[in-house]
């Protein structure tokens, strides 16, 4: 296998943007998974789909409306959840169906405005422009910077929200920042795997890396490595085998998970060290 494909400009852009997306999805994903918000990414993506159709209808750049609608929807649901005690999974379902509902409704109502539905649903990383690549790089750098700055606070909030609150962390503000960052991550990543498969990049590398039984820092590094590996190998493989990149990427993350599970049960990874018992005196 020669690496001539790396000389194609569309491939270079796709790989660079893909790696950036792999990193932010994995970073954002660890908090989403640990907070039992695994499907939050999916819900946000569906919300964004609704937002895109609003933008197309209104003649505004669809990504902006997508962003606005997902952030508003996510903030709304956070509030609703808090005030009505609707459980997390139900709240996510509300978000998901209302976003998709609005999208389908608007598309059918305008009957003919042409949305490349397929590319929203399944991604189109290899059709990405230079401007978009730069935009993705910039946004990703911002998300990484924000998450790095807030990592300790977010980890504390994720671990024990009550204690974090007692110690003086501004939980409400942190929650809102978290939702906005998640929305940015999801909308940026839609280009890669599409609305329907976005959870794969958010969830799978993280649950795989958690199988290794390491602390937070190492778990994050392992997850990012898996994520970047899956995206890069997925894009290259899909090119040679003439497959859809998004599906290939997702199936690689699944394969890595299964491989890790097998390795874990075979005792190769994630073995906890034997406990050292102290002598009772």
């Amino acid at each position: 296998m020669s690496l001539e494909i790396l000389s194609y400009s569309f491939m270079q852009k796709g790989l660079v943007a893909g790696m950036a997306i792999a990193i932010i999805c994995s970073l954002m994903g660890i908090f989403l998974v640990l907070r039992r918000y695994s499907l939050f990414g999916d819900a946000l993506a569906h919300m964004a789909f609704g937002g895109i159709s609003v933008g197309m209808l209104a003649g505004v750049y669809p990504l902006w409306t997508a962003f606005a609608v997902s952030v508003l929807g996510a903030l709304g649901i956070t509030k609703l959840r808090k005030s009505t005690k609707i459980s997390g999974d139900a709240a996510i379902a509300v978000l998901l169906v209302s976003g998709l509902g609005v999208g389908v409704l608007l598309i059918s109502a305008t009957d003919g405005f042409r949305v490349d539905l397929f590319s929203f649903l399944f991604g189109s990383i290899l059709l990405i422009s230079t401007e978009d690549t730069l935009l993705i790089l910039g946004i990703s750098a911002g998300v990484v910077a924000a998450l790095t700055a807030l990592r300790k606070q977010l980890l504390h909030m994720t671990f024990d929200e009550e204690q974090a609150k007692v110690s003086g962390l501004n939980i409400d503000r942190l929650n809102y920042i978290f939702v906005v960052l998640a929305s940015i991550t999801v909308i940026t990543s839609m280009r890669l795997v599409g609305i329907l498969l976005i959870s794969a990049l958010i969830v799978l590398p993280n649950i795989t890396s958690m199988l290794f039984g390491k602390g937070f820092k190492k778990t994050v590094i392992i997850s990012m490595s898996i994520s970047v590996f899956s995206v890069v190998s997925g894009i290259i493989l899909s090119y040679y085998l003439d497959l859809a990149p998004s599906g290939t990427i997702v199936m690689i993350t699944v394969a890595v998970l299964i491989g890790t599970l097998i390795a874990k049960y075979a005792g190769i990874v994630g073995k906890s060290k034997p406990l050292e018992y102290q002598k009772v005196t």
Binding site: I30, L34, K152, Q153, L155, H156, F159, D160, E162, Q163, A164, K165, V166, S167, G168, L169, S209, M210, G213, K214, G215, F216, K217, K218, T219, S272, K273, L275, E276, Q278, V280
Partner: protein, 266 residues
């Protein structure tokens, strides 16, 4: 005469429409180890939540003389260990990582400490930024006897070890007051006795003021210097000796005849 760290005056708390805490008064002096006893549902946890700012109340709660709005900047200086911490068994965090969460948010800790210093409170162990965070964490782990487990994942620990991790997390910021809500619930005898030794060390050597709720009268009779006994209302607050010599009180409010029995034979 040492000063009052905490003053609780006429505090009442309504919880789901009924009075969970009814006009409670007590104070905690610097260096005290106050044991709070009372049956389940006596309002101990609710009262603690009011002290740490998670629960509305009427009356006044003062920390080093500060109350109301002025009290809030001091909240981060309180170390609180709740009865039970629910976390995912496979949560990817090591002991060291969990304990270092106790040093957050740094700015508010420093602000609270400065506030105390400004008002002339001679709080000697003001949070020092001179120390590296990781050194501070290791030092605290040494105090609670978990240094060798620092890289162990939190989910792999036993109940007794976990409880010491949470105490270390509350202790790492040098709290002005440590509040422990029934910390030995669900922990075996050996871990309990280890915990009681630790409590004594923290109180006597680290000179940290502690408020501790427990059902274990025997342990309270050994460790605490003051006792408060409550069941919605406060029935007793004072020196330990006074409490344990008052057979009437013990008889009425002791958790179980067994524990009283053990104490009588001490």
């Amino acid at each position: 005469m040492s000063m009052n760290v905490l003053e609780v005056n006429d505090v009442s708390i309504k919880y789901n429409g009924y009075l969970a805490v009814d006009k409670i008064n007590f104070s905690v002096k610097e260096g005290d180890l106050l044991g709070i006893v009372g049956p389940n549902g006596a309002g101990k946890t609710t009262l603690f939540k009011a002290i740490i700012g998670l629960q509305n109340y009427t009356g006044s709660i003062k920390l080093f003389g500060y109350e109301g709005k002025d009290y809030h900047p001091l909240l981060p200086l309180i170390g609180y260990v709740s009865q039970k911490v629910n976390f995912e068994q496979n949560f990817p965090a090591t002991v060291q990582e969990v304990v270092s969460m106790g040093l957050l948010p740094e700015k508010k800790l420093v602000k609270g400490a400065i506030l105390l210093q400004n008002c002339g409170c001679c709080w000697s162990r003001i949070y020092k930024k001179l120390e590296k965070d990781s050194d501070k964490v290791l030092q605290t782990l040494r105090t609670v006897g978990l240094e060798s487990l620092k890289d162990r994942r939190i989910g792999d620990l036993s109940g007794g070890e976990l409880q010491r991790v949470f105490i270390a997390k509350a202790l790492v910021k040098d709290p002005v007051l440590l509040i422990l809500d029934e910390p030995v619930t669900g922990v075996d005898m050996e871990a309990q006795s280890k915990f009681y030794n630790l409590l004594q060390t923290i109180n006597k050597e680290n000179k940290i003021t502690i408020v501790w709720s427990s059902h274990d009268l025997e342990a309270i009779s050994k460790l605490a210097n003051r006792v408060a006994c409550m069941n919605r209302k406060l029935f007793f607050h004072g020196e330990k000796g006074e409490f344990f010599s008052n057979k009437e009180l013990l008889k009425t409010y002791a958790e179980s005849a067994m524990q009283m029995h053990m104490h009588d034979h001490d």
